[in-house]
Symmetry: C2
């Protein structure tokens, strides 16, 4: 259940509707902390909550674990992969996005992205295995390729991944190897644009770049990656040998636009009306990362969590207004709530527009805000314990290499095999 | 790192030796609580600890993540799957066991066993998916096959699995489904012998059987399972349709006996000398589940955690004695430390020989004992939090369906595909 759909369901509480939630996954994932699973700080179950448990008191909601393959707009039915279908009067599509490789899907096996729990455990396995292989490699040049980590994309996810990998290498793993010094690991953050955190104000970007460099991350700006393979990446015509590459550069929407035959932008997002409905189908809404929403004042609504939540709430309001026979309550308006990103375990940037912070104060603010956003006391306690432990001792508890043989060489995880092994 | 090897390494602290630990996995697994991962009570990272972190201060220990394929006894080298080898003066083999199907390996895809973290997440996924499929199934008879769970084997693991599945169905999942009542799930524990917990004293078995029945578990004694397939099992010539079957009936040792060309028992365990060395090779020890150890007073040393630990400590003592030139310090003697098993979240049996308990007192004693055996304050706090939460609210937090498509039908997970997907 994406956050946007969650807000719609919340907003329809007590409306007397018959709601069916169709989800491919049985858990609601708290996406903003997914990078912490990929970097061994948190366990998978600390940021993923059973959807049924969240909705247990909502007797008006039926949850189906199923995969959608299409929509019959005329018959008003959602088609499922097992041949069944679910009827609707109103349909809300919140199917999110996956990472996109800008026409280079062949890079995916070598540079996994980070959208699902399985993505996170894949990246975690690759990072940990790289140190293990370096420990066993006798050739110094090859050893260095195992100890080189490249993160492609300088947005919040890329910055947070690079900073945490640096912390993991220099703080957590210190003293645990006998032949290598994990502190010598090279972490390179590659951003095609002129600065990291391009959506933040420029002083924030400068601070973040400096904080990354203090953690020992090499920040390479201004050139796109032009090749990715099993041996490394090419940037600005120069080769950078690296056995671990992570993709944090681009997203593409789910195939929902194809299901509907609706107009879509280049990233595959459905270009919706100002009231978030699909053109010609006022009974169908598209929200969150799968929708392309233009702001009445110009520009696009950004694909961030607060915007997804606001869209979810807006749709609930619209449906309630329609029930009361007052369908027109104005276009969706996005209200910026602030941007946050951490750099390692001591620094962060927080920008609320009217005020911004950097440094340790921002880090604590970031931490409290995220614990607040977690659902339920039990998860708050668990995540707080994990973070305080890392803060105090540097030890990260979720350092598991699973779902892959320790001997797995460089077999690429293809889109197909991954879909099978862990969609 | 198995517990037995951990004790040997502990016991050799400060001995001035050069120790190499070769492990296929990067984590030490706390096996006694693995069933709790399989039944959504604990997260994988709560019972698995990074080996390197445990050994970080032991500068005399080098840890290698590698898979052993054989032993060159003459050249005194351990052979690894990547073609490399590691020399030794003394070799300690503690490679454990996997589940065995008594000549029916074709049952494995339909009745997974529980030895590794991946086994646990496989079983967890199957249990949770069974409820999801039942919710979507319209045919009443088929729905019942999704809601029938069969556990084969009435030892501690089988008893603990069956009790916890019953709790999960009747306590945790209550009210979360709209079309089925998870409390109607049928949990059947099948044991070929005359009683559950066959190694415990008979009053304990009787109590456990009664406690299981109070939880709604059907206990079927006295007949072995004669067939297992995708649709169910056959017991005493009668068919029991069930889509979820779990194997808790038998173990087989690792192929270590083959590596050494050493005499082995029917389960593949190396039949060792009274001092735990391999016949003809006093420099090689075999301990834990991969060793067949006869007691000087007759009978076999049982394959339980305390026995593995004692063997590990004994080997460390022997090696130290040899270093001092006093090789002979008597045969290994197993000292029984007591048997424990829980039945659901309110009852347990504890048998120390001189005293035994049942009921809630035993349950709390069991809980404190297991928290004590966990390594490190951080894990103790995390597990205590998880248990108190389950005790107080019935909610289990690790209810994740991962590593498998939600649409995965009944494709069997074969030994081969599993080895690939998650060894």
């Amino acid at each position: 259940m994406p956050v946007s759909a969650g807000e719609t369901i919340n907003g329809l509480k007590g409306a007397g509707l018959d709601i069916t939630l169709i989800d491919r996954r049985n858990h609601h994932l708290f996406q903003p902390l997914l990078y912490q699973v990929a970097t061994t700080s948190l366990a998978t179950s600390e940021i993923a909550w059973p959807v049924r448990q969240l909705l247990r008191r909502r007797k008006d909601v039926t949850t189906l674990l199923a995969t959608v393959t299409g929509v019959d707009k005329v018959g008003r039915r959602v088609l499922l992969s097992d041949g069944e279908s679910v009827p609707y009067d109103t349909l809300v599509i919140a199917t999110g996005a996956r990472h996109a490789y800008f026409g280079h899907d062949e890079w995916e096996p070598f540079a996994p992205g980070l959208k699902t729990l399985e993505d996170a455990t894949t990246i975690r396995r690759r990072i940990l295995l790289a140190f293990e292989r370096a420990e066993r490699e006798t050739d110094a040049a090859k050893r260095q390729t195992f100890l080189t980590f490249v993160v492609i994309g300088g947005g919040p996810t890329g910055v947070e991944l690079a900073g945490t990998i640096a912390d993991l290498a220099r703080d957590t793993l210190t003293g645990e190897f006998r032949r290598i010094d994990p502190g010598e690991a090279r972490v390179v953050l590659v951003e095609a644009g002129p600065r990291v955190l391009g959506n933040f104000r420029e002083t924030m970007s400068d601070y973040a770049g400096g904080a990354l460099e203090r953690l020992g991350v090499e920040v390479r700006l201004g050139f796109p990656v032009t090749a990715v393979d099993s041996e490394g990446v090419t940037i600005d015509g120069k080769r950078l040998p690296a056995r671990t590459v992570i993709w944090a550069a681009g997203v593409a929407a789910s195939p929902a636009a194809e299901w509907l035959g609706a107009p879509a932008d280049r990233a595959g997002r459905i270009i919706v009306e100002p009231d978030l409905t699909v053109t010609g189908n006022p009974e169908i809404f598209a929200i969150g990362d799968t929708a392309h929403v233009e702001r009445p004042e110009g520009g696009l609504v950004p694909g961030v969590a607060p915007s997804a939540k606001q869209q979810g709430r807006y749709v609930a309001k619209t449906i309630r207004a329609r029930l009361r026979g007052r369908p027109d309550h104005g276009p969706f308006r996005y209200r910026a709530e602030g941007d946050l990103a951490t750099i390692g375990k001591r620094a962060a940037v927080v920008d609320f527009g009217w005020i911004s912070f950097t440094g340790w104060l921002a880090w604590w603010l970031w931490g409290f805000a995220h614990i607040y956003f977690l659902i339920g006391l039990r998860y708050r306690l668990a995540v707080a314990l994990s973070w305080l432990w890392i803060y105090a001792t540097g030890q990260r508890s979720a350092r598991l290499i699973t779902q892959g043989d320790s001997d797995e060489g460089k077999e690429p995880v293809t889109r197909k095999s991954r879909a099978k092994a862990g969609a």
